[in-house]
């Protein structure tokens, strides 16, 4: 496998992980909205589903993007595909 193919494979795997986490917190948990609402887990005292819609999922998305960016930068560095001065 060429260097570029390896790079793309890693990039793609990172995408799948990122999208899996994204799926859980944007779609997955809301399949169980009514059940979660009754849960005894209450972040800051809010009902669980309510908390996810107003803070939880939103904050997780912010963290997820920065995590994703960091991992992708590592992959790019590993294969020497990061941008150098004057590339643009």
């Amino acid at each position: 496998m060429s260097k570029q193919e390896q790079h793309w494979e890693k990039t793609r795997n990172l995408l799948f992980i990122t999208l899996a986490i994204w799926f859980i917190f944007s779609i997955g948990i809301f399949l169980f909205g009514a059940e979660m609402q009754e849960s005894s887990i209450r972040p800051f005292g809010y009902p669980l589903t309510y908390w996810f819609t107003c803070q939880g999922s939103l904050a997780i998305f912010v963290i997820l993007i920065f995590w994703f960016a960091g991992r992708q930068e590592k992959i790019d560095d590993e294969f020497g595909f990061s941008e150098r001065e004057g590339d643009q």
Binding site: Q4, H7, W8, T11, L14, L15, T18, L19, W22, F25, S26, I27, F30, L31, F32, G33, A34, Q37, R42, F44, G45, Y46, P47, T49, Y50, F52, T53, C54, Q55, S57, L58, A59, F61, V62, L64, I65, F66, F68, A69, Q72, E73, D76, G80, F81, S82, E83, R84, D87, Q88
Partner: protein, 603 residues
């Protein structure tokens, strides 16, 4: 030129600007104590901020194509994040979102999840790759990746339909705020709003829009957060509402149980002014089916990743790496406002319905409520209404009606904050609507001037001519948008959601597959864009004209139909036609690697 120095000094420049704005707020507060009228304060707030934006727009004027289309590709990560947040958060987010949550609760909060979750798609699927491409516009990417004027032209059509739907709503919002704050008729205020929008974008294109959007973000976030924190402390709910309103949320649920949701008769409802609604849904409980919630969230997420005015903000960063990080910053700055909207809705509702609070009106006598100053003001502005349906002389929960905008606009006054805060909120709403309108008008006129005029009609046009065409188109589109906005065909929020569905129907899969599926070719992309847009639109028309719809897909989620048709037709047509040539395949390989020259620079 000052430019290089300006970029290095950004934190200082905007630091001084923020400080100056805070001083201005304090001066206004002092003036209010000294007896300045509420009306004058409102005028000062809106006029002062709009003049600042216009000044920034004028200082950023340019005669260079690169600066006009992509701000010279040198906007630093964090500042691009702020600009994107302002670009993104429209008048609807600012003025209408808290109201939507107030009235519809959980079912509406799918929009919060959708409008933030979409950025994960932007960061992982698209933004870094489109940045590597080095295009000026979104159709520029489609046109070059797939090849051919037909693909480019189709992308321009989808972009125009989606963005134009969106921009009329924004110009409408600037008109609404300008007419209230400056006390002029709406028909004229729309054009005042338009003039302010054009002043920010016409001379400097993307460069001017970028630097005004950063300034607008600062105004709008202060204007949103300050009242939320203040009201929360004033009600004794806690100094940091986001972590401290659990008791208030529980109290609302308790009161709802106590009052009950009494259904009004159709005859009674007919007497309520148009656009006002009562509290008919529980505040925090799960009141929508999983599918209703998820389908709306999915549409907003896919729409986010397809709206050209957002995508083009990531063309302005210095590199692929910064484009990626910039998406994170954008979402962080959006998060600050979005996570506060439910808190504002909670505070607003509690202060109105809790009989034990001095501001609570439920349970008071009708005559008593009618004599309250703020009730009279907002009743006159057609945003509040009470009526004694059951004739018992006391106000019940089902006898109180409010407009969605009132949650943001009126709560400071209800909670007894000084008028200076209401002036600040008006300036914030104006900033939110203007910044989004600027981004949208620019997205449309750039697509028409770059992709239609320069790439298709007259590829030999010289720089000066291209920039003149771009500006003429900008003004024309602005006027077209304002003319339609003045007709007031549709509410602000409805057309915003439609714009997402249109964008998703036509552009989501052609954009994503352009990067992630090498086999995708021009006929497939054209089929995906056009059939997606047509089927989505047809479904919308069908449902609007009384059709029953299927799978629970409503006029707010018609993008699911459009995008599904788009995906299937794009794959089928791509597979039955010839694979893209080796040059195109090589181009896709290059897009996937951050290093090296941009694709368009290689040509």
């Amino acid at each position: 030129m000052i430019k290089g120095k300006f970029i290095d000094n950004l934190p200082k420049v905007y630091g001084i600007y923020t400080g100056g704005f805070l001083v201005f707020i304090i001066l206004m507060a002092i003036a209010e104590q000294a007896g300045m009228s509420a009306k004058l304060i409102g005028i000062f707030f809106v006029a002062f901020t709009v003049l600042i934006y216009a000044l920034i727009g004028w200082l950023s004027r340019t005669l260079q194509v690169d600066a006009y289309y992509v701000a010279g590709r040198q906007v630093p990560t964090v500042f691009n994040g702020m600009a994107t947040a302002a670009d993104w958060m429209s008048g609807a987010s600012f003025v209408a979102m808290a109201g939507g949550i107030y009235f519809k609760g959980y079912g509406y909060m799918a929009l919060l999840v959708g409008w933030t979750g979409g950025y994960v798609l932007v960061a992982s699927l698209l933004a870094p790759y489109l940045r590597k491409f080095g295009c000026y516009t979104v159709p520029d990417f489609i046109g070059t990746r797939y090849g051919g004027n037909l693909a480019r032209f189709s992308a321009v059509i989808v972009l125009t339909v989606a963005s134009f739907t969106y921009v009329t709503a924004q110009i409408n919002a600037t008109g609404t705020i300008a007419s209230v704050a400056l006390d002029i008729p709406f028909g004229i205020a729309v054009y005042v709003g338009l003039a302010s929008i054009l002043m920010c974008s016409m001379l400097g294109g993307m460069r001017a829009v970028t630097w005004t959007q950063v300034a607008q973000y600062i105004v709008l976030i202060i204007a949103y957060l300050l009242p939320v924190f203040w009201i929360s402390s004033k009600l004794g709910a806690g100094f940091f509402p986001h972590f401290m309103l659990a008791d208030e949320v529980a109290r609302i649920a308790e009161l709802e149980g106590q009052f009950g949701f009494v259904k009004n008769s159709a005859a009674d409802l007919a007497t309520v002014p148009k656009g006002l609604a009562g509290i008919t849904k529980a505040h925090s409980s799960v009141n929508a089916t999983p599918w209703a919630f998820i389908s709306l969230a999915v549409c907003m997420m896919a729409g986010t990743a397809s709206l050209p005015h957002v995508m083009m903000r990531y063309f302005t960063t210095p590199s692929v790496r910064t484009a990626r990080r910039s998406v994170g910053w954008s979402l962080f700055f959006i998060f600050l406002l979005y996570s506060s909207a439910p808190m504002l809705a909670t505070l607003s509702k509690l202060s109105l319905i809790d009989p034990t609070l001095p501001t609570g009106i439920i349970g008071k006598t009708i005559a008593e409520v009618q004599s309250i100053d703020w009730y009279q003001n907002w009743n006159q502005a057609n945003l509040m209404f009470i009526s004694d349906f059951n004739g018992n002389g006391t106000l019940e929960l089902n006898e109180f009606f409010m407009g969605g905008k009132a949650v943001v606009l009126a709560t400071p006054e209800i909670a007894g904050l000084p008028y200076v805060i209401s002036g600040l909120v008006a300036a914030g709403g104006m900033a939110a609507a203007m910044s989004t309108a600027d981004g949208l008008v620019l997205a449309i006129s750039n697509a028409l001037s770059h992709d239609i005029y320069y790439k298709i009609i007259n590829p030999k046009a010289e720089t000066a001519k291209r920039l003149i065409v771009a500006r003429v188109l900008l003004v024309l589109i602005g006027f077209a948008g304002a003319t339609i906005a003045a007709l007031e065909i549709q509410g602000i929020l409805g057309s915003v959601i439609w714009a997402f569905d249109f964008a998703m129907s036509g552009l989501f899969f052609p954009l994503v597959l352009g990067v992630w599926w090498k086999r995708a070719n021009a006929p497939g992309a054209v089929a995906g864009m056009l059939l997606g847009l047509i089927s989505g639109t047809a479904y919308l028309i069908w449902v609007r004209s009384g059709g029953s719809g299927f799978l629970g897909i409503t006029q707010l989620t018609f993008g699911i139909v459009g995008a599904a048709v788009s995906l299937v037709s794009m794959i089928v047509v791509s597979l039955i036609t010839a694979a893209p040539d080796s040059a195109t395949q090589k181009m896709v390989d290059d897009v996937r690697v951050p290093s090296g020259k941009t694709i368009l620079a290689q040509k």
